[in-house]
């Protein structure tokens, strides 16, 4: 039987893993490689690794931490994928087919594009032809304002300036050849208020490709809700996985106990 996926999201900014709230406040959490290794040792279903660096710095430039220093993104990805037994989806800074190839070659299994797809939707089609649609995840951020959903492009403060409706964009992305959608409510980012169930349910029913729900997980019950009440294929979350060593195990244990079709929790494997 096909299982629903539980996917931790790591946010990376200029050499550090960070925690985000509403896409504007960032708290430094530590070393990327250690976090990836820990999630891999707990047999996480997958990992989404988003690079939100504002500049090309992949080194913390601090001699006083034990954190490894990385030359560039492929270097970082290469090191991170060495310790990962789980599939990695990498996002951030992808503009061209070449950018995708570099990331796949460095050890990513899938890539996710967001702004580049909005700027030039044909990138989705070209990428899906070249690499297969299964490795092209299109990430979509939206805000909830007065019960309506508005596309959010980057950090812009005027969400209405993009004339595309979220659902319209989702259907277009699917038609162009995306393999999966990572659907993220910015309004719920870091808020621990639960997933946007009604909208996720509506979207998952309209699309043929898998939808990964993101934004708002404050506890495992929120994950159970979205998995039992909608047809999303996966639940993703960032902050909830950060502060507990056994988080992946606990999530799957809880969801299994609720009768949801996830992989049963597995005890930690120390082989990396």
């Amino acid at each position: 039987m096909k299982k629903k996926r539980v996917i931790p999201v790591l946010l990376h900014k200029e050499g550090w893993l960070v925690q985000s709230k509403n896409f504007k406040e960032y708290k430094k959490l530590g070393n990327p490689q250690k976090a990836v290794q820990r999630l891999s040792e707990w047999d996480s279903d997958e990992l989404i690794y988003l690079d939100i660096s504002k500049n090309e710095t992949y080194s913390t430039n601090r001699g006083d931490t034990a954190a490894p220093e990385y030359r560039d993104l492929p270097d970082l990805l290469g090191e991170v994928s060495k310790v990962s037994r789980m599939p990695i989806t990498i996002g951030g800074g992808i503009q061209t087919l070449q950018d995708i190839e570099v990331r796949l070659r460095a050890g990513a299994d899938k890539i996710t594009i967001n702004r580049a797809a909005l700027a030039d939707p044909s990138l989705i089609k070209l990428a899906s032809r070249e690499f297969g649609r299964q490795c092209i995840v299109v990430s979509i951020d939206y805000e909830e304002i007065d019960e309506k959903r508005h596309l959010r492009v980057g950090n812009q403060k005027t969400p209405n300036s993009n004339p595309l409706e979220v659902v319209e964009w989702l259907l277009k992305v699917e038609e162009l050849g995306a393999g999966e959608i990572l659907l993220n409510s910015v309004s719920r980012d870091g808020m621990k208020s639960g997933y946007d169930i009604s909208f996720l349910g509506q979207v998952a029913d309209r699309l043929r490709i898998p939808v990964i729900a993101c934004g708002g997980a404050g506890n495992w019950e929120h994950m159970a809700e979205v998995l039992s009440e909608t047809n999303v294929d996966a639940v993703a979350a960032a902050n909830i996985f950060h502060f507990q060593d056994q988080s992946v195990y606990l999530a799957r244990k809880y969801l299994t106990s609720k009768g949801l079709p996830v992989r049963p929790p597995s005890i930690q494997s120390r082989r990396g």
Partner: protein, 205 residues
């Protein structure tokens, strides 16, 4: 004999993931498309991520496939992963029809049914159909990581080692003589994947 794995490099595919998996298992492997490395290798791996036609074109452009064909016919084990297994087919129907390597004559690559969510992404269980050493110590019903929209069809019953169910029953593991193909990604399938890769390396000529 100490195994030497050659991960066939055709300019695509997730070669690094596969290399990382062998490294973690302490198995010596090399990423190459050189004739000398292919000849010296005890085992060949054809990894895969991508579309059938794009992969076939890259294989034709970058691999000395006549040499590989000879090595296979002399009994060298070859493991095809995902698209690396699909190209065993006589022909593939992704976007348009395109010939495959025809290692399994009569087989073809077709799309998963229309009425299910695609691609098939994530963990799914396999059902053992025929015993084979590639599945040693792996339970019937074990979960593996899949990511694909197409599958290899028209495989004869004896070659079907394990199947998977996703709207249709399709081959998850096939084997024919020294050829082994897996639709899932063993390099990303954690303990079950590690067992399968170890089993592959234990297959001898």
């Amino acid at each position: 004999m100490k195994s030497k794995i050659c991960i066939l490099d055709y300019g695509s595919g997730n070669v690094t993931s596969v290399k990382n998996a062998f490294d973690r298992l302490g198995l010596e492997s090399r990423i190459s498309n050189e004739v000398a490395d292919i000849a010296k290798a005890s085992h060949l791996v054809l990894p895969g991520v991508g579309a059938f036609k794009a992969s076939m074109e890259k294989i034709e452009a970058n691999l000395p496939f006549n040499v590989i064909r000879t090595e296979i016919s002399e009994g060298k084990p070859l493991l095809g992963i995902c698209v690396g297994m699909q190209v065993f087919a006589e022909s593939g129907y992704e976007f348009e029809v395109h010939p495959g390597l025809n290692l399994i004559p009569g087989s073809e690559v077709i799309e998963l049914p229309m009425d299910i969510s695609k691609p098939h992404v994530g963990w799914n269980s396999i059902k053992v159909e025929n015993s084979h050493p590639i599945l040693n110590n792996i339970d019937d019903g074990a979960d593996f990581y899949f990511v694909h929209s197409y599958f290899l069809s028209k495989i004869n019953n004896q070659s079907l080692i394990a199947s998977c169910d996703y709207g249709v029953k399709f081959p998850a593991v096939v084997a024919q003589d020294n050829l082994v193909g897996v639709q899932f990604h063993p390099e990303k399938s954690q303990k079950n994947g590690d067992k399968l890769l170890t089993n592959f390396v234990e297959l001898v000529q």
